[in-house]
Symmetry: C2
Subunit: 229 residues, 2 copies
Amino acid sequence: MTTVRVITVERDVQAQARESAAEFRRKMAEQGTLVVNVLSSPGAGKTSLLAATADHLHARARVAVLVGDIATDRDAQRLAAHAPALQLTTGGACHLEFPLVEQGWDALKAPEIEILFIENIGNLVCPASFDLGEHCRIVLLSTTEGDDKPAKYPKAFRTSHAMVVSKCDLLPYVPFEPTRAAADARRIRPDLEVFETSTRPVAGLEPWCDFLMAQRERILRGEPCGQRR
Amino acid sequence: MTTVRVITVERDVQAQARESAAEFRRKMAEQGTLVVNVLSSPGAGKTSLLAATADHLHARARVAVLVGDIATDRDAQRLAAHAPALQLTTGGACHLEFPLVEQGWDALKAPEIEILFIENIGNLVCPASFDLGEHCRIVLLSTTEGDDKPAKYPKAFRTSHAMVVSKCDLLPYVPFEPTRAAADARRIRPDLEVFETSTRPVAGLEPWCDFLMAQRERILRGEPCGQRR
């Protein structure tokens, strides 16, 4: 009896969170702000990619970043030179949830932003289960993690619209086959877009940034960025 | 009222799990099996380190591995050439819990093992909160993840007895300062042991394996491997 009651409460809370996230998604599309949720393992290079992406998009779109971490505000400090950035600190929690994102967006006070990135906690598992009100979900896979990760952490890849392979500058030194990683990931999600990038030196950002701009065009036309899973 | 009841149930379950894990730890110490819980981000090189460690310890200790993954049995297949290995598949869960470890140990049917490694799910957050009945907890940090990770994911480092820096062969190509990472980690846990290793080629395993053998001596003498946090 106790258990049944608990499940009911939990469902109500989750349903409410889903509705709030969906409403945020609608509102952000109406005002022309593309929201991008960025997932990866710790140290795959989310902050470096977003800094380089903000620089690359400088003349094409106004960009801001809500950056999640368990502790420290180091990433927001790093990003501040490239784009308006606000740190979301979870104090231990392994993923971001929508209410913190909404508070962050309100605190950012930047309604004119055209692309809002949400840099999630470095964790290839838990963040995949939470809708942050994003239009588009991205998963980074660094070449140093190995090309077997899509099969081993399937949900992050199944729920993402695109995979950004990061640290391609290290390909000569690591046993990573980009074609194998892409094939593995597309067994999990056949329509996954794949981009090969590096930030030391910066390379491969043009197709990735074109993809982002195309996603913004889609939401302006009232189309979703792709199937939500 | 419902909430209070739920918290009570939850506490009972957790207390029971803690007791079972503590009992397993005592039993394994009595029979001379050191249990080592290995944490890291996805792709930091846990499987490669354990394969190389099993080879290196070949003449000194009988080693086995319980290897956790969300999906696939690729890691157990990789390890099988180096040591008895058994895959624990969580089917989605972001960390291992004690009951699955106990089942794995029973299924392994290898009571003569002197060091049992538990390769946790690749996740630098959630596994830090679960006692698997280990004597010794290890966290791997790969040089490609960046030296800022101890400060950003403190619990994994605070609850570990040693940090193994992996992929030191890539140090010439990445912005990682081993001394800075060690200092950062020791601000979180002052008595943390630190080992610098690589597996391509194999290097730095001697001090790491000496540490493991010394930990086994400790449990044989009835001493803990260090403070539990």
